[in-house]
Symmetry: C2
Subunit: 188 residues, 2 copies
DNA sequence: CCACTAACGCAACGATCACTGCGAGGTTTC
DNA sequence: GAAACCTCGCAGTGATCGTTGCGTTAGTGG
C-alpha cells in the first residue's frame, strides 16, 4: 500500500504554477488515453507529453493509478447538471440522455476503461457521482409524495445498461435507446 | 499495430510440452491478477511465476494484452452449461445465478477488469459467450411458441446489472438479488 | 521590499523490461 | 531408427522506468 500520498498538497488556485502543470498533465493523460493502445501509459511518457519533467509527476501523484484516479475525480465532478423538470420520467430521460452522451465521448470511455483496469479502487469514482445524481432525482420525486422505484432498481435499469454497453460492447449509445431504458423502469 | 501475431501456433494437444507451459502461464496470470495491484503484471514476472523463461512468453504471446485475451478466451469458453429446465423463468434464474457465482470469483473478476483495461478489444470475449448462452435460452423458449423478451432487453436486464455491479461496485452478487433481476425482466 | 516556503527542473543511479541470436531437448514423420 | 521441425532455455543488449539529491524559480507573508 502506497501510504495515502498526500493529495494535491496545497496551492490549487486557478492561476498558480501547480494548477497549470496539473491541467497540463491531466490533458496529456486524456490525449494519451485516446491515442495509444493503453499499455504505453507511463509516467515519463505522460510527463513528456505535458511538457513537464517526470520527477514532478512522480512527486505529485506517485503512480499512474493515482494520477488516473485524480483525472477521473476532476472529470466526473459537477459536470452533469441534475435535471429538474418537475416530472420524474422527464428528469430520468434527460439524465439518461446526458449520461449516454457523456459516455459516448471516446476520451471519457477510455478513461473509464483505464480506471477499471487499475484494480477497481478508483472505479467507484466513475459511478458514485452519477449515482448521487440519480438518488437526488428520485428523492426529489419522493418528496413530492409520489411512489418511486428504489435507487438500486434505478441503478440496475439505467446506470448498469449504459455503463455495460459503453464499456463491454462497441454499440452506439443512441438517445432513443437511452430513453427506452427509462420506459422499462417506469412502466406506464 | 503489432501485426496479428500468429495465434498459439501449433501443438496444443493436452499432453504436449506446449500445452504444459501454456497451462502454467495461464495459472500464473490468474494468480498474479489476484495478488498484485495489477500494474506489476509484466511478462518477466509472469514467466518467473510460471517457472518458464520470459523468452518463451514473448515468443508465444508477444504482449501482456494478447496473453490476457488468450486467458480470457479459454476461461470463458464452455464453462457455464446452458440450463434447460423447460421453463424460461427457471432457465434464466439458473443462468443468472451461475453467472453471479462465476463473477463472484475474485480471479474471474480481476481478469475481467484487467481485460477491460487493456483497451476493450478483448472485452467482447468476456461477454460474447454469455450473451450467446442467453440467446440460446430465449430462442429455445421462442421455438416453443411462447412470447419472449428481445435479446437486447435480456442483456440490459440481466447481463448489464451483473457485470456492472461486479466491475464497478464492491457489493456482493447474492443469489437472491440475481434472481430478482429475472423477476423484473419477466413481470407477473 | 525582503525572507520564507513550496513546487519544479536537472542529472544521475540502479533495476527492470522488451527483445534477439544461438544451442539443446523433445516430438513428429518417413 | 534417423532426419526434420518445433519449442524452450540461456546469455546478452539497448531502452525505458522509477527514484533520489540538489539547485533554481515562482508564489506568500511580514
Amino acid at each position: 500500500m502506497p501510504a495515502q500520498s498526500s493529495p494535491p498538497r496545497t496551492d490549487t488556485r486557478p492561476g498558480g504554477r501547480s494548477a497549470r502543470v496539473r491541467a497540463a498533465v491531466h490533458q496529456a493523460v486524456k490525449e494519451l488515453l485516446t491515442d495509444e493502445a493503453g499499455d504505453a501509459l507511463t509516467i515519463p511518457v505522460i510527463a513528456a507529453r505535458a511538457g513537464v519533467h517526470a520527477t514532478t509527476v512522480y512527486r505529485r501523484w506517485g503512480s499512474v493509478g493515482e494520477l488516473l484516479a485524480d483525472v477521473a475525480t476532476s472529470r466526473f465532478s459537477g459536470d452533469v447538471v441534475v435535471p429538474d423538470t418537475g416530472s420524474l420520467r422527464e428528469d430520468l430521460e434527460r439524465y439518461a440522455y446526458d449520461l449516454a452522451k457523456d459516455l459516448s465521448d471516446p476520451d471519457t470511455l477510455a478513461l473509464v476503461r483505464a480506471i477499471v483496469g487499475t484494480g477497481g479502487e478508483g472505479a467507484g469514482v466513475c459511478r458514485m457521482e452519477r449515482q448521487r445524481q440519480l438518488e437526488a432525482i428520485i428523492e426529489r420525486e419522493q418528496a413530492r409524495g409520489n411512489r418511486v422505484p428504489t435507487v438500486d432498481r434505478a441503478v440496475e435499469a439505467l446506470l448498469a445498461p449504459l455503463y455495460y454497453r459503453a464499456v463491454f460492447t462497441d454499440q452506439a449509445l443512441s438517445p432513443e435507446w437511452a430513453r427506452g431504458l427509462v420506459s422499462h423502469l417506469l412502466p406506464e
